[in-house]
């Protein structure tokens, strides 16, 4: 989609799925849900996982079904990475894996053996805020603060990857991260400021 535009492109899929849903539904007196009979519960074995988290080695034994997001939040206690949808659609869970941004809710943790992972907790150096964190503060680039971790993680790679060349380019890159409070304008201001400063981030 072009910047600032409201076209019908996002709606096409929905219309199709709506008609499919309508076709498949036949009202009846007795409706049974789910083909549960075929499913047999089996115990899940724990698997070993090693990776680097914010520069420190981590070794855990985890349920193979654990997502990277749930591992961070529920088991390691790094709750700075946020859960906003668990469908890879909102960006609140954005982390850096080997330097690239990634939505941690769609990643099975076990697929990241030996990865270098950075979360929002890993950006500041001691008492010194990361330049992007400082710019978010200065530009009031958040309200409730819940999407903020993900916005900052994406903002950092936006500048690192050379995508912060114009407001439109920043907006296009940042479309992966939803802010329901509507802090978008201030977020872009913060990114522009960091990009212009030439600070090494």
């Amino acid at each position: 989609m072009n910047p600032c535009q409201f076209s019908d492109a996002r709606r096409g899929f929905l219309k199709k799925s709506a008609s499919v849903a309508a076709l498949y539904f036949t009202p009846s007196v007795l409706v049974k849900t789910f083909a549960a009979d075929a499913i047999v519960p089996v115990p899940i074995a724990k698997e070993k996982l090693k990776f680097t988290l914010n520069g420190k080695p981590v070794a855990v034994e985890i349920d193979a079904r654990t997502t990277m997001l749930n591992l961070l939040r529920e088991q390691i206690g790094y709750t700075g990475t946020k859960k906003g949808c668990e469908m890879g659609q909102c960006g609140a869970c954005t982390i850096h894996v080997n330097g690239k941004r990634l939505k941690s809710c769609t990643q099975l943790a076990l697929t990241h053996q030996n990865s270098q992972i950075t979360t929002i907790e890993g950006l500041a150096k001691g008492d010194q805020l990361h330049p992007m964190q400082a710019a978010f503060l200065k530009n009031d680039a958040f309200q409730c603060g819940y999407c903020t971790s993900g916005q900052i993680m994406s903002a950092v790679t936006c500048v690192r990857e050379g995508k912060a060349t114009s407001r439109a380019s920043i907006q296009a890159y940042m479309d992966t991260n939803i802010c329901r409070c509507g802090a978008y304008q201030n977020i872009v201001d913060a990114i522009v400021e960091v990009a212009k400063s030439g600070a090494k981030i």
Binding site: M1, N2, P3, Q5, F6, S7, D8, R11, L14, A18, A21, A22, F25, S28, V29, L30, V31, K32, A36, I39, P41, I44, D63, G77, Y78, T79, G80, K82, K83, G84, M87, Q89, C90, A92, E121, L123, D127, L129, Q133, L137, K138, D140, F142, Q143, C144, G145, Y146, T148, Q171, A172, M174, D175, I178, R180, C181, G182, A183, Y184, Q185, N186
Partner: protein, 752 residues
């Protein structure tokens, strides 16, 4: 069990520019700020809902055996094994005295299905993975019943409406006698709050009669009361913590199924239980702005003076609960008009219950009214701002009281200039730039400005640091910052020495954060606490310091962390030294601030807004591009300019969603929501947001409260959708009266 250690204090070592940044901002940019679902308690279990796959009917059988046998599953709670909840009893005679009936759907209570996606069982397991894996193992057999979810179809049957309320002043339908009038219908689909943080509750019981909850709520005290009344507990035995709230927009103004479900499960299993809703569940379990229909008739004489306004509206509610919207209210008082008649009804449907969503009914009603006024302006061949000026009123025509302040005229002047109104084509569809049709639109918003009761504790420590406490919440507007600023101004002391604590029902009672009332209500209480504190300091100085002994407190002032003699500033004592002399070495006081005074009640108070939009429409395919936004607010004194600006920008973003992208879509054959995800329900994204200029009148409303400030949360959004749709008409000459305006509705043929 003492859980205070879990309640993170706001201490951090990061440097904040207190004069110009959110006082709690460092926690939010570093990920330190903890939200509801982020407290992990020892031995905590995870609860997940199994939801219905029919819209209405009876569960004939629920087979939970396989789920129970699944690894890690501790329990499957549903109507057949749910412990009794006092507030679930429908017969008042059976309920203990201090118990009220639970408002809303009684989760896990009976075998009735009232809407598609209703929780029918709660799986509790030792891990989230184990809980989720068991959902599909629960098997339900239903006897389904006929249901109604199609608002547009059902509303036409007048016998299905309920709760009709009518209002009349002057003559009914007087607009028809005017020399120029319009009569038009406007529709808004259901819209969903969708705060980024999903609703969640963690409950843990300490014995049978004491419970602590971490809950996503806009009102810790209100949730405390709800839980105490539902479970038959003493208020003091229910603690609700909501230290950080990741947005709300109204969805956190009441307790939903996750609250009783977590309490029930935690009690049954005798261990802490955490329930976090899924994003799809956020579409059906925590309210929404109900679908609505309005018909507006408005007429004016040749000079533009309104002759009559007739406003009729219907909005949806659930079958099991009434939810009313104030859709027609704005038509009664925003403009001078002798003849106004309104009618509002609810339409019950087989859906979950709606709840106030930002701007609530006024946002819905203003879309209708401000669109109709725009339509009338073209009939009159009059500038729409001129038309509004013509009907300006300084007195509220509904209750005949003067507005405590109304500076809409200043807003018009600023907005007009800044958006470049002079370039607006008077004939729609005639201005083009780079092949795109250009249009300008404006619309007003208004919302009641209240002042309620709140208590504040002020603790001035021996080190001169001031802590203020109130059980309000901060879902994003920056309440912590605003309250700190108010205290710093009142005490004339450095802002970094003040801490404002909120988000815990153990703190002194405060209001829920809603209806744009927090700054006025809690701010007035903070101001009163500081006034009282200053008086205490002066009294102490007179009593304890020889140099002050002969003086009266009227001759003293408190500033720069000192008590000073006004007539001779060389006579002074620092607050720290003064407290050293006092027996308690500190001052700890509590004040209760009440609603408006008799003097303030001689006025009617509102916040006003006026929004301006310039946009472009591609005549080939109807693609809409918003080029520029100017939004102006008249909300008394602006306490915290930076966060207030952010709140106004947020209203613009929400208004753009309302006007152009947001729509809850239903499949009426199955009765289910079919776009319950961010992928399919389109909230505005980065690239869709234009440069926005925010301006405030910023004039203290001295007739309103001691701080002169009114709320802005609602007016930021109210009216904005109409500013967009009016601009679309100005650009294209096509009037779309059902939101959102998607390109297809503009009917341009061809490809871009």
């Amino acid at each position: 069990m003492n859980h205070t250690h879990l309640h993170k204090q706001n201490n951090n070592s990061y440097k904040i520019n207190f004069e110009d940044e959110r006082v709690d901002g460092a926690d939010k940019v570093t990920g330190k700020a903890k939200y509801t679902a982020e407290y992990n308690l020892p031995n905590m279990a995870y609860g997940v809902f199994v939801t219905s796959s029919i819209a209405k009917g009876t569960i004939k059988n629920l087979d939970t055996a396989k789920a129970l046998a699944s690894p890690g599953v501790l329990d499957v709670i549903y109507y057949a094994n749910c412990p009794s909840v006092p507030g679930y009893l429908t017969n008042a005679a059976e309920r203990p005295k201090n118990v009220f009936e639970w408002r809303g759907h009684k989760v896990l209570y009976d075998n009735q299905v009232r809407f598609f996606g209703q929780p029918i069982a709660l799986i509790v397991a030792d891990s989230l993975e184990n809980a989720n894996a068991a959902i599909r193992l629960v098997r339900a057999e239903y006897e389904s019943q006929a249901f109604e979810t199609n608002f547009e179809l059902v509303r036409k049957d007048a016998s299905k409406l309920k709760g009709t309320v009518a209002y009349k002043r002057g003559t009914e339908n007087a607009f028809k006698t005017a020399s120029a009038f319009v009569e038009a219908e406007y529709a808004i689909p259901a819209e969903v709050h969708l705060p980024m943080e999903m609703h969640a509750t963690i409950a843990f019981w300490e014995g049978d009669d004491k419970v602590t909850l971490y809950d996503k709520t806009q009102g810790p005290k209100s949730t405390q009361t709800t839980v105490a009344r539902t479970f038959g507990l003493l208020d003091k035995n229910v603690r609700v913590i909501a230290e950080n709230v990741g947005g709300g927009f109204g969805s956190g103004l009441r307790s939903w199924a996750n609250v009783p479900a977590a309490l029930i499960a935690a009690k049954k299993l005798n261990r802490p239980v955490k329930i976090v809703l899924t994003r799809p569940q956020m579409f059906s379990l925590v309210g929404y702005r109900p679908e609505s229909w309005q018909k507006i008739g408005i007429g004016a004489d040749a000079s533009g003076r309104f002759v009559g306004i007739t406003h009729e509206a219907i909005s949806g509610t659930s079958r099991y609960e009434d939810f009313r919207e104030g859709i027609v209210n704005v038509s009664k008082f925003l403009y001078a008009c002798e003849n106004v008649d309104t009618k509002y009804s609810m339409l019950p449907l087989d859906l979950s219950t709606p709840v106030w969503m930002r701007g609530p009914g006024e946002a819905t009603g203003s879309y209708g009214l401000e669109s109709a006024i725009d339509e009338l302006s073209y009939k009159l061949k009059m500038d729409p701002i001129e038309l509004r000026l013509k009907n300006f009123t300084a007195v509220n025509p509904e209750n005949k009281l003067p507005f405590s302040d109304n500076n809409l005229k200043d807003c018009y002047a600023y907005g007009k200039e800044k958006i470049g109104w002079k370039n607006r084509p008077t004939t729609p569809g005639t201005l083009k730039e780079n092949g795109w049709l250009i249009g300008y639109g404006m619309a007003n918003g208004v919302f009641g400005a209240g002042k309620g009761s709140a208590s504040v504790r002020a603790l001035l420590n021996k080190d001169g640091k001031l802590t203020l406490e109130c059980a309000v919440s901060d879902m994003g507007p920056g309440t912590t910052t605003s309250m700190t600023i108010i205290a710093a101004a009142a005490m004339q002391m450095p802002i970094e020495k003040i801490k404002f604590k909120l988000g815990d029902s153990d703190l002194p009672p405060g209001p829920s954060q809603g209806g744009s009332g927090t700054t006025s209500t809690v701010g007035s209480a903070v101001d009163l606490a500081c006034t009282t504190l200053k008086q205490n300091l002066k009294d102490l100085a007179i009593k304890l310091v020889p140099a002050f002994a002969a003086l009266k407190s009227e001759g003293l002032e408190v500033k720069n962390e000192m008590v000073i003699v006004s007539s001779d500033p060389s006579i002074k004592i620092t607050i720290v030294d003064l407290l050293q002399l006092s027996p308690d070495k500190q001052i700890d006081l509590m004040i209760a601030s009440t609603g408006k005074t008799a003097e303030q009640l001689k006025f009617t108070s509102n916040s006003f807004s006026s929004h301006y939009v310039k946009l472009a429409v591609n005549p080939k395919d109807g693609t809409i591009k918003i080029l520029q936004v100017v939004t102006t607010g008249d909300a008394g004194k602006i306490i915290s300019p930076k966060t207030a600006r952010s709140q106004m920008i947020g209203g613009v973003v929400g208004g753009i969603g309302m006007a152009l992208t947001e729509q809850l879509e239903m499949d009426h054959v199955s009765g289910q929501i079919i776009n319950a995800s961010f992928g399919a329900y389109h909230v505005p994204l980065h690239s869709q947001i234009p440069p926005t200029d925010v301006w405030f009148v910023n004039k203290p409303d001295v007739n309103m409260n001691s701080i002169g400030a009114k709320g802005i949360g609602e007016i930021a959004l109210i009216g904005f959708a109409a500013a967009v749709t009016n601009a679309v008409y100005n650009a294209t000459g096509k009037r779309v009266r059902d939101l959102p305006i998607t390109p297809a509705k503009l009917g341009f043929k061809g490809k871009a």
